[in-house]
């Protein structure tokens, strides 16, 4: 993947909770805790290069409430989608179990956000606010792993799906290489950079 100039960043949320908030806390609850963890994530991102792909790992988190999810998922994504973002960052969430799914989906829907999430080993889903066309386009990209622009009309014959595909890149749910112009599924980049 020589055309993917992204620094890999592995973020262990359970570890950050214990090291940056309180060693005795084992659950991701309360807005105050979520804010502290988000700031710790942003600090970790500050040590990466100008563009990064972060794998936000919730595997060690058993309870995630809505207030915390709003900070750790929604506000984190909002900050790096904002035109005034401190640096370019892409995110994939890992270890998203059924216990996390509802809070994550709810807070993302509310802010019209979506994220690529690994919900079982090597099984990825798009969570949050997305249209049916975006879901179809994203699944096709997942199936192929990467697409060159010339192939897109064949893979996505429906103009709505092609428009949705462009939207996925805008929303940072897919990565377009500034070097080759190829579009990569984030899950494939994770498998390569953060196995």
């Amino acid at each position: 993947m020589t055309d993917v100039p992204l620094d890999p960043v592995a973020i262990d949320v359970g570890g950050l909770l214990q090291s940056h908030v309180a060693s005795l806390y084992s659950h991701l609850v309360t807005r105050q805790t979520g804010r502290a963890v988000r700031l710790a994530i942003e600090s970790q991102l500050g040590e990466a290069g100008s563009a990064s792909l972060s794998l936000v790992d919730l595997s060690e988190v058993s309870v995630l409430d809505f207030s915390c999810a709003d900070e750790v998922a929604a506000k984190l994504l909002l900050r790096y989608l904002d035109p005034g973002r401190p640096r370019d960052a892409f995110f994939v969430f890992r270890g998203v179990t059924e216990a996390h799914r509802d809070p994550v989906e709810v807070v993302l829907m509310r802010q019209h956000l979506a994220v690529v999430a690994e919900t079982a080993p090597a099984h990825y889903e798009l969570l949050g606010d997305r249209t049916e066309a975006e879901e179809r386009a994203w699944r096709q990209l997942e199936a192929y792993g990467l697409l060159v622009p010339a192939d897109i009309p064949d893979v996505l014959p429906d103009p709505d799906d092609r428009a949705a595909f462009a939207g996925l890149i805008e929303r940072r749910l897919a990565f377009r290489s500034p070097i080759s112009g190829r579009i990569h599924a984030l899950s494939r980049i994770v498998a390569h950079l953060l196995p």
């Binding site: 084992s26 659950h27 807005r31 805790t33 809505f66 709003d70 059924e98 809070p103 709810v106 509310r110």
Partner: protein, 295 residues
């Protein structure tokens, strides 16, 4: 001395009377007569603590608590940690039973909520205990313990984020043989802070004009998710609690000031909105989760 005699039962249905009486305009010291108390649930216990605190703060003297004659009730209050929390709230002559001595059957003892760490402690505690109770008594799936913890976390945060005053939480499981013929878990969260109207007034009162009241403030927060924060990520807590409680066919009601709003399931005949209560400070939230029916 001003006397408030408690009824035989002090629970989610009768606690309003105590709260109403606690804000009656009297300047003298108060005696709370609990001698005839035969049954009390977490709502009744927290109402007692809130009423005592309000009386203390208003008169400048600790109200006197005449404890229940029933040893069962006394023992239960001890196991729930009532007397520990009542220190500094009531003057009490009798010997307060201690909570220890045998394994507790309590789901969540009365816990004061004043800071972030208190919410973590509550979640830690129910994670250890709630699983067995939720599965064996309410017949909820094993995963329900997480949603139960999230409910408690969000409802307790309401105190820290909005009340700006002291509050408590408690929960216990019962078998409502007469009322419902099923097990239930009763959760109570109460504070004596500034209440929903006080929390929302600066941001939203002007838009409501003359209609602004405790009832409209409750509707704004409970039904529409309004908060005093401009951040659009806020206001989800109560909405998501309501959604989960509805999934479990439970009830949730919030009293704040002179009004009470509720989400009422089919087994409950409480009205969805009550107005004209005495203006008690803060917010008092009751959640009742029933055992799954049928199958």
């Amino acid at each position: 001395m001003h006397v408030i005699a408690l009824p035989g039962t002090l629970d989610y249905q009768s606690a309003d009377v105590l709260l109403d009486r606690a804000v009656e305009p009297v300047a003298e010291r108060t005696l709370i007569d609990a001698r005839h108390l035969r049954w009390v649930d977490p709502v009744g216990m927290l109402a007692l603590l809130c009423a005592g605190t309000v009386l203390r703060d208003r008169t400048g003297a600790l109200p006197h608590l005449e404890g229940p004659e029933s040893q069962d009730v006394m023992g239960y209050l001890g196991r729930m940690g009532f007397f520990q929390e009542a220190r500094g709230v009531f003057e009490y002559d009798g010997r307060a039973p201690r909570g220890g001595g045998r394994p507790s059957d309590v789901l969540l003892e009365i816990t004061s909520i004043t800071r972030n760490a208190d919410v973590h402690e509550v979640v830690d505690r129910v994670q250890q205990r709630a699983g067995v109770i939720l599965s064996s008594k309410l017949r909820y799936p094993a995963s329900a313990v997480v949603q139960f913890s999230v409910i408690l976390s969000e409802v307790c945060q309401n105190i820290i984020e909005h009340a700006e005053g002291p509050g408590w939480v408690a929960a216990q499981a019962y078998h409502w043989s007469k009322r419902l013929g099923r097990h239930v878990v009763v959760i109570s969260v109460m504070d004596i802070g500034r209440g929903f109207r006080g929390s929302l007034s600066d941001e939203h009162a002007a838009r409501y004009g003359d209609r602004w009241s405790d009832a409209t403030a409750l509707e704004a927060a409970f039904l529409h998710g309004l908060t005093r924060f401009p951040d659009s990520g806020r206001g989800q807590g109560i909405q998501q609690i309501r959604r989960q409680v509805r999934r479990w066919s439970g009830s949730i009601s919030v009293r704040s000031g002179s009004a009470r709003i509720g989400q009422v399931p089919e087994w409950d005949d409480s009205p969805p909105m009550v107005e004209g209560l005495a203006p008690f400070p803060g917010a008092q939230i009751s959640i009742i989760l029933p055992e799954r029916a049928g199958e």
